[in-house]
């Protein structure tokens, strides 16, 4: 019945969180509580029944926490003390502050370290006000800032999304190393790592595409309304996986061998799999749709990174380096 010792700390943390929640409410459906705290209803009932045996000495009924677990609900009389918000751990404080700052940046609110709204505290959004209160409680100054960048046409794109307008964009594609003009129905903006991405229905391509906003060289409304802005396409977007790029079935799986100082790669680039090699290097599998992209990556990684397969890509890095070298060699 009792879980291993090492989980007791995590269980305590969750139990205290549940009790804080319960202390602020009279009666809560068990299923609701279980979902909210990511725990099975059985485990929840077990922990609540355990908690009902806890309290202060001498642990007579009047000194125990009052928790009544019914068929579908739980009722608790725990008093205001247990309902008070608890001091955040460093990790929690950081995660909350970083999320709030990132959210503000994503919605174009406040500067990375700004306090209050653009024109003063009265003008602040609820998020900016919440941030101000949080930071005051955490020590009075902004300890973490998040900048998501502001590529030149971000505002035009954002405005088009909120007004449901179609855009004509002049786009420099990374895949094909070429520039083209496209008409798009903008659907959603998201910032992954240091870059902004626009998911849009591309009329030219006849499907949903993802564009990197810093590769948009020009953007202007066409005057037409976006036809795909609501309904189907937007909900289909949630099927588009998270992360800047997910290789589809047409992607080629490329295996490369990297050494220790390229460990950053795994976080910076969508990696399908990594595994250690006997000689100390790491084998990394990438999904690649564009050889241009792979070339540039290999150039940055350097000659000691080896393409293990497929065989036709083994010389990609060397060939790319030769082409660049031509610029440095007098004719």
């Amino acid at each position: 019945m009792s879980e291993p010792q090492r989980d007791a700390g995590a269980r305590l943390e969750r139990l205290l969180a549940v009790l804080t929640w319960l202390a602020q409410r009279d009666r809560v459906p068990l299923a609701d509580l279980a979902e909210r705290f990511a725990i099975s209803p059985e485990q929840l009932v077990g922990d609540l029944e355990l908690a009902a045996c806890c309290g202060l000495p001498p642990y007579t009924p009047d000194r125990l926490m009052e928790i009544i677990v019914g068929e579908e609900t739980v009722e608790a009389q725990l008093g205001p003390e247990l309902g008070r918000p608890r001091r955040l751990s460093a990790q929690e404080g950081f995660a909350l502050a970083a999320a709030a700052r990132a959210s503000a940046a994503a919605h174009g609110q406040g500067g990375p370290g700004a306090q209050g709204g653009r024109h003063g505290p009265e003008d602040s959004s609820p998020l900016e006000r919440a941030l101000a209160k949080l930071e005051a409680a955490l020590g009075g100054h902004t300890a973490v800032g998040v900048e998501l960048g502001e590529p030149a046409h971000l505002h035009t794109v954002r405005d088009a999304i909120s007004s449901g307008s179609q855009l004509r964009i002049d786009y420099l594609s990374a895949w094909r190393d070429a520039r083209s003009v496209r008409v798009v129905d903008p659907l959603r903006l998201a910032a992954y790592g240091g870059n902004w991405y626009l998911d849009a229905w591309c009329r030219t391509a006849g499907g949903t595409r993802r564009f990197r906003v810093d590769r948009i060289l020009g953007a202007e409304p066409t005057g037409e309304r976006s036809q795909h802005a609501d309904g189907d396409e937007l909900s289909k977007l949630s099927e588009l996986a998270e992360g800047p790029f997910v290789p589809g079935p047409e992607a080629t799986l490329v295996r490369i061998a990297i050494s220790g100082d390229h460990a950053w790669l795994v976080d910076a680039v969508p990696v399908i799999e990594t595994s250690p090699m006997p000689d100390g290097r790491t084998e990394v599998t990438l999904g690649v749709v564009s050889t241009v992209w792979l070339e540039r990556l290999l150039l940055q990684l350097g000659p000691r990174t080896e393409v293990l397969g497929p065989p036709e890509l083994r010389d990609l890095g060397r060939d790319a380096a030769r082409r660049v070298l031509e610029r440095y060699t007098p004719p």
Binding site: G9, A51, M65, I68
Partner: protein, 333 residues
């Protein structure tokens, strides 16, 4: 079921300074460790004065009888609590045991944030829509008693790194930090933690060098240790913001020097859009541009140029151009 209002746990009589031992049958013989920990937290929180280990073992069922096993069990419990961010304060007391324990309410509770419902909702949305790769944001909401939603489709995806929480805490509490960086131990009075252009940066005052220094957090080597709160002192008028560079090639220890890079007509517009018109030192008839960059980190500059492939060429200074050629020639060996 009738709802009967019973006095809250805290409204009942406070623990008397000397406790009579709990009757042995009060809780039965098998105590789940979670139960012992929960009782321990409640007892430590509810006592006005520190309790000795003996008093605690008398008050909290589940500890072994007096002896080494009891002491070790308590030490384990204290560690578990500390790992969950619950600080058990140790204070001197009268009596043979000399030390007593309690949880100070200020250490346990946050000052009342008084968040309005719309502010709570905004924090909830922020945690749900920003993916940090770390569930602590949701834990934070729970601690604050704010309802938490399922994760939403991300509006921003920001990486989380080990060490960020320690650095955040150090900036927040103005504590000095020490860490490894490129093989050296460095000491810093940290002032600012910022995510910019896809990387986490730490800016602070380096007392040994008497100057501002910037570090890429993903390059910081463990262990990262922080001193006591308030141990950092950043000089009057220290501008951490200006020490935060705009471009990766500006973060380095080299002497700053101008580097000229030619970019062809295809990639030129995007480069100028990103760096700004002021970076342009020449526009050529064929549509290409030459940009001038102030560089203190040669490797970062080369990496940036390589990402442009054959569309970019490092023109000068000669040693940087030579470094690029050397790098490229390496592919042919």
């Amino acid at each position: 079921m009738q709802a009967v209002r019973r006095p809250a746990l805290s409204e009942r009589a406070p623990l008397a300074p000397t406790l009579s031992p709990v009757p042995s049958g009060a809780k039965g013989s098998r105590i789940d460790r979670l139960e012992r920990l929960t009782d321990l937290v409640l007892v430590l929180l509810n006592t006005r004065i520190p309790l000795s280990l003996r008093e605690l073992a008398d008050a909290v069922p589940g500890y072994p009888p007096e002896g080494e096993a009891r002491r070790q069990a308590f030490e384990r419990d204290k560690r578990t609590l500390r790992d969950q961010g619950i600080a058990v304060a140790t204070e001197a007391i009268d009596g043979p045991e000399q030390v007593g324990y309690r949880i100070r309410p200020d250490d346990f509770y946050l000052p009342d944030l008084r968040l309005e419902p719309d502010e709570q909702a905004a924090l909830n949305v922020a945690v749900a829509e920003v993916h940090l790769g770390d569930p602590s944001g949701r834990d934070a909401l729970w601690r604050l008693g704010i309802p938490s939603s399922r994760p939403l489709a991300p509006v921003a995806d920001v990486p989380s790194l080990p060490g960020l929480a320690t650095l955040f805490e150090a900036v927040r509490s103005r504590a000095g930090v020490e860490f490894g960086y490129r093989g050296e131990r460095r000491r810093l009075d940290p002032a600012l933690l910022r995510f910019r252009q896809g990387w986490w940066y730490l800016v602070g005052f380096d007392r040994a060098r008497e100057a501002a220094r910037t570090f890429r957090v993903d390059r910081i080597e463990a262990p990262v240790t922080a001193g006591a709160a308030g141990s950092a002192s950043v000089p009057e008028g220290f501008d951490a913001e200006s020490a935060l560079p705009d471009e990766p090639w500006k973060i380095g220890e080299d002497e700053p020097r101008p580097v000229h890079v030619a970019v062809d007509a295809l990639e030129g517009p995007r480069v100028v859009q990103a760096l700004g018109e002021s970076s342009v030192s020449e526009r050529r008839p064929d549509g290409s541009v030459v940009v001038e960059l102030q560089v203190t980190n040669e490797r970062a500059l080369l990496s940036w140029a390589l990402a442009l492939g054959a569309h970019a060429e490092v023109l000068d200074p000669p040693e940087v151009r030579a470094a690029m050629v050397e790098w490229l020639r390496g592919f042919d060996r």
